[in-house]
């Protein structure tokens, strides 16, 4: 009994004489970050939730008037908003699928005995280190119908990429695929190199064909990390703004972020745009949740 008291006193006095105690260091290290994130993330969300029930306009001095659920009702009944969502969905599917095919394919190729593997991987990562805005701008030059290098190389004459309403969304997706396939490639490569070699050796002894090996060994083992790449890219593609905004101004490429930006900062319908922001937020959370559930299922197998 006495010794316990002694040591605890001892430890306390030792801590006091040797600077801060562990608990105060822990608090000092953690609390500022948590507070900072609450102030700059949770607080704005509560703020905008409040505004989403009003007809507030940030451009006028009129006080906000409470309108209840009107903003939400009107937005959910607006077919143009739904078409923005449809465009976004199409964009997400096209660009994420493209990235998975190109990224995973490249990773499969790189996962062999290839000279200069490190250098090639590093070079392939360059596109994702650029600014989306800058990428959008220079792809505009590459896509130019009369002197763009793409049309010249592919012999497309004066094919319109960005001013053709049917093509513009695909053009944006192609740029996105170029930029972000390396990300999928990198994660896939990490997954592929973690597959135990002895599994392949066993399959080779059993004279398993390449398709069997791929679908029964490679794919299931890489699936969890590939899923993570897909979750990240889907979330990002759903939020796309810069690339589409800079590349074109076609109505067919007006993804939901652009609509939101216009509503908030060009039409100044602040209250209404807060409501739309909330609808988007709920959708992102729902999608992420479905993905994470699926990911856990993939992991269990």
């Amino acid at each position: 009994m006495a010794t316990v008291v002694m040591t605890s006193l001892d430890a306390k006095s030792r801590a006091a004489s040797r600077g801060m105690s562990d608990i105060s260091i822990r608090n000092l290290f953690i609390i500022p970050t948590i507070l900072f994130l609450i102030v700059f993330n949770i607080f704005p969300l509560i703020y905008s939730l409040g505004y989403s029930f009003t007809d507030f306009r940030a451009s006028s001095n009129a006080p906000a008037k409470f309108v209840g659920l009107r903003n939400y009702r009107e937005l959910l009944n607006d077919i143009f908003i739904w078409s923005n969502f449809a465009i976004t969905a199409k964009y997400v599917i096209v660009s994420v699928t493209g990235q998975v095919i190109v990224g995973f394919g490249t990773a499969m190729l790189l996962n062999r005995d290839i000279p200069l593997k490190g250098l090639l991987t590093t070079l392939l990562l360059l596109p994702m280190m650029l600014s989306m805005a800058v990428v959008g701008l220079f792809w505009k030059l590459l896509y130019d119908p009369s002197f763009g290098i793409i049309n010249y190389t592919l012999g497309l004459g004066s094919f319109e990429w960005l001013s053709n309403p049917d093509m513009a969304l695909y053009a944006v997706a192609i740029t996105d695929i170029w930029m972000w396939s390396p990300f999928v490639m990198l994660l896939s490569l990490a997954g592929l190199s973690a597959v135990p070699k002895h599994l392949y050796e066993a399959a080779a002894i059993d004279r398993a064909g390449p398709f069997y090996t791929f679908f029964r060994i490679t794919l299931p083992l890489v699936a969890p990390i590939l899923m993570i790449a897909i979750i990240f890219r889907t979330m990002e593609a759903f939020k796309t703004f810069d690339l589409a905004y800079i590349l074109t101004s076609q109505p067919t490429t007006e993804v939901i972020s652009i609509r939101l930006y216009k509503m908030a900062f060009q039409e100044w319908q602040t209250g209404r745009s807060c409501a739309l922001a909330y609808i988007v937020l709920i959708m992102v959370l729902a999608i992420t949740n479905i993905y994470v559930k699926y990911l856990n299922k993939v992991k269990e197998r």
Partner: protein, 319 residues
């Protein structure tokens, strides 16, 4: 394995190598093209067939840094006396290089925006990485009530679409006068990168054996001394990788910069596209702006390249 490679296996490998090379070339072609355009004289930028061989020029860069006004009287050296040093330098250099009879030369908006980008990206990277390292250490070494929930909360701040946060942030910033200031963007980018920084750094710090610090504590170090003298040097690789990611994100951010700034604190990403205008854009100048903007990221990434690949796959596996 290599010894038992069959002939078909070797042929397959050769095909794979060729395919990888082709893919790499396709991926790098746009970057090569934009870089070469940045060194072309204007009349060669838009020729068909494209010009591949030409005498490189630096005039696109000079044009990027300067603008010619035909109406304004030339600024006197006194007028530039209180301009920041980089503006004066560009002004002097530009005048020497493109002295032409008509119009006068002044710095364009680019040098200023570029400096803004540097100030904002570097400061927010330092803040996000240091706060992230402290917090990660706190979570890694001490008992924290509700640790899993807190960590998930930190991660979830990254899931929000930026536009969702942008509207209330804009209103808040306007109310407290942080709009169009350097600190406004620094705080935003720090908040944005912090979640990532905490998660990545926790992965790295968890890998450092606790025994290292315990040994130091026994030797009479305080906890703080042990943290700074033992843990930080051990975590250097992780800090470098985290810094690269945070810097790239802050350096390239466009949407918030577009919304939250308009003149004083505007960074380069919203500025370069605004130069396209409605008339015939001078693509050589835009290419020059793009290449120059790429340079800091490229240098930073190159310096820390050895940590980067490790950091990237590391974080991925951990999540």
């Amino acid at each position: 394995m290599a010894a038992v490679q069959t002939r078909s296996e070797r042929a397959l490998n050769r095909v794979a190598i060729a395919a990888v090379l082709v893919i790499t070339l396709i991926f790098l072609a746009p970057i090569y093209w934009i870089t070469s355009t940045a060194f072309k004289p204007r009349n060669l930028a838009t020729t068909i067939p494209p010009t591949v061989l030409f005498e490189p020029e630096i005039s696109p860069f000079v044009k990027l840094f300067t603008k010619r006004s035909q109406l304004r009287v030339a600024p006197t050296p006194e007028e530039y006396a209180d301009a920041p040093w980089w503006e004066r330098m560009v002004f002097d250099g530009g005048e020497k290089i493109v002295r032409s009879g008509r119009g006068e030369i002044q710095p364009s908006g680019y040098p200023n925006r570029f400096m803004n980008s540097l100030i904002i990206a570097i400061t927010s990277t330092v803040l996000a990485v240091s706060m992230g390292t402290f917090t990660a250490y706190g979570f890694s070494r001490f008992k924290v009530k509700g640790e899993a929930d807190l960590l998930f909360f930190i991660l979830s701040t990254r899931m929000l679409p930026p536009v969702v946060v942008a509207i209330p942030m804009f209103l808040m910033y306007r109310a407290v006068g942080l709009n169009d200031t350097h600190w406004g963007l620094i705080i935003l980018y720090t908040a944005f990168n912090l979640s990532f920084s905490v998660w990545l750094m926790k992965g790295f710090i968890d890998e450092i054996p606790k025994e290292y610090e315990e040994a130091a504590l026994v030797d009479g170090y305080t906890r703080m001394e042990a943290f700074f003298k033992i843990v930080i040097p051990e975590a250097a690789t992780g800090i470098a990788a985290t810094a690269v990611f945070c810097f790239i994100t802050a350096w390239n951010e466009y949407a918030f910069a577009l919304i939250m700034t308009n003149r004083r604190a505007q960074t380069a990403p919203p500025f370069i596209p605004s130069q396209v205008g409605s008339g015939l854009p001078d693509w050589t100048v835009i290419a020059a702006g793009t290449v120059l903007f790429l340079l800091p990221v490229a240098i930073f990434t190159f310096l820390l390249r050895n940590h980067l690949l490790r950091g990237m796959s590391f974080g991925a596996i951990r999540k």
